[in-house]
């Protein structure tokens, strides 16, 4: 079961962020990373085997391409790779956000509450940002097994997801292929379907199977650029104090709903540790890889990658500096 996740040594960390790129608009002025206080809590609910446990550098990148072609591969150089497009949504207050901007989700949430099974809300408007930047994943494992998961676009061709969606311990390792469907909504595929075979994770996951290193990426082929149409998520590190008070949003493709519908829920964190965010946001198998994001100053920043479910709390791999740096490098690969 999930242990107490409070980490007294994790109170201070870098505040790095990479802005989201909302739907392309005529106003594409780059936005600068800011120096806001770590105690500024103005976030909002989004509306609507061979295991080595002693990996010395667990966030060292691993990729299926590297294994096939290059052998060992070291970490990536860093750099600011993107401009922001801004977003099309107005900022509203935290409590009013779900009521103001997406009333259709509120009505669905009421229906769900009446049912009393869980508090997830179905996202019907998956052609709208930010929902369209969230992708259903159809995973073909190396051993022939099939799985479903969730991913999210951070650049035209880069999809972030859980490490266990790209490298499946017990199912042959690197997936043989992953179909990425942005804004999947039952039979509707408003931004098409894109198959990725270039996969990224880190050695902490591929060799160490460490829960805190459970994150990865799919780099789509050069002719597949769905993120240029859908807009993308930003991502950021935030300190413990901030995250304990922030509204966390999570949306993905749960298998108990068939895996072809996007479902959303938002709530504050239950606990925050040095590498894991834990919450009572309802999830189910298939939502692995979903973004856990904050809506702050009208910008959407992922702060976690959903990975695990447990009765004591569902959880995400926290985006800390090492994770942020890898995401930034993978973003550049799919620019």
């Amino acid at each position: 079961m999930t242990k107490s996740l409070k980490d007294p040594n994790a109170n201070v960390m870098d505040q790095s962020e990479e802005p989201n790129a909302g739907p392309p608009t005529s106003d594409q002025a780059p936005s600068q990373s800011d120096n806001r206080s770590a105690f500024q809590f103005d976030t909002e609910y989004e509306v609507v085997s061979g295991i080595d446990q002693n990996i010395k550098e667990p966030d060292t990148e691993a990729s299926n391409t590297a294994i096939r072609v290059l052998g060992n591969e070291t970490g990536w150089e860093l750099g600011n790779t993107g401009a922001s497009f801004g977003t099309e949504f107005d900022e509203t207050s935290a409590l009013d956000a779900i009521y103001g901007s997406y009333p259709e989700l509120l009505e669905q949430m009421r229906q769900e509450v009446v049912i009393g099974v869980d508090n997830r809300v179905r996202v019907q408007a998956t052609s709208s940002y930010p929902w369209r930047a969230i992708c259903g994943l159809k995973i073909q494992a190396a051993n022939g097994q099939r799985f479903i998961g969730t991913g999210w676009l951070i650049s035209p061709r880069t999809v972030i997801t859980a490490g266990h969606c790209v490298f499946l311990h017990g199912a042959g390792g690197w997936a043989s292929s992953i179909e990425v469907v942005p804004g999947l909504n039952d039979a509707s595929r408003p931004f098409g379907s894109h198959v990725g075979t270039a996969l990224r994770s880190v050695t902490g996951w591929t060799q160490g199977k460490k829960r805190e290193n459970d994150y990865g990426a799919i780099i789509l082929p050069a002719n597949s650029r769905p993120g240029a149409q859908t807009g993308t998520f930003g991502f950021a590190t935030r300190d413990d104090a901030f995250l304990k008070n922030a509204m966390l949003n999570l949306s993905g493709y749960p298998g108990d709903k068939g895996g072809n519908q996007q479902w959303f829920m938002a709530q504050k964190a239950k606990s925050v540790s040095s590498r894991v965010l834990t919450y009572d946001i309802d999830t189910a198998g298939g939502q692995s890889g979903a973004p856990v994001w904050i809506l702050q100053n009208n910008q959407r920043y992922a702060v976690g990658i959903h990975t695990n479910g447990a009765a004591s709390g569902n959880s995400a791999t926290r985006i800390v500096k090492a994770v942020f740096d890898n995401l930034l490098a993978w973003k550049a690969l799919g620019a």
């Binding site: 099939r146 068939g258 198998g285 939502q287």
Partner: protein, 81 residues
Amino acid sequence: MAKVSFHDTNGRPVRGAVVAITGAPDEMIDLGYVTDDAGAIQFTPPAEGEYLFSLTGPDGGSLRARTLLSDSEAEVTATAS
């Protein structure tokens, strides 16, 4: 790896269904599974105990199943209804 084969109430394998593990005795990854031609999925159970499953067939129909797994290599058949 444990193997769970899902059959319907007529004993036929439930093929091509999306499976979510909705109850487990311990924390699990939130991956969704798709049953193979024998109606089976394989996964690593984190602990002995009862597991609950939600199945959605290719036709959209929903089924539920439960089974006890006594060890991480267990092979069991569960009736989905």
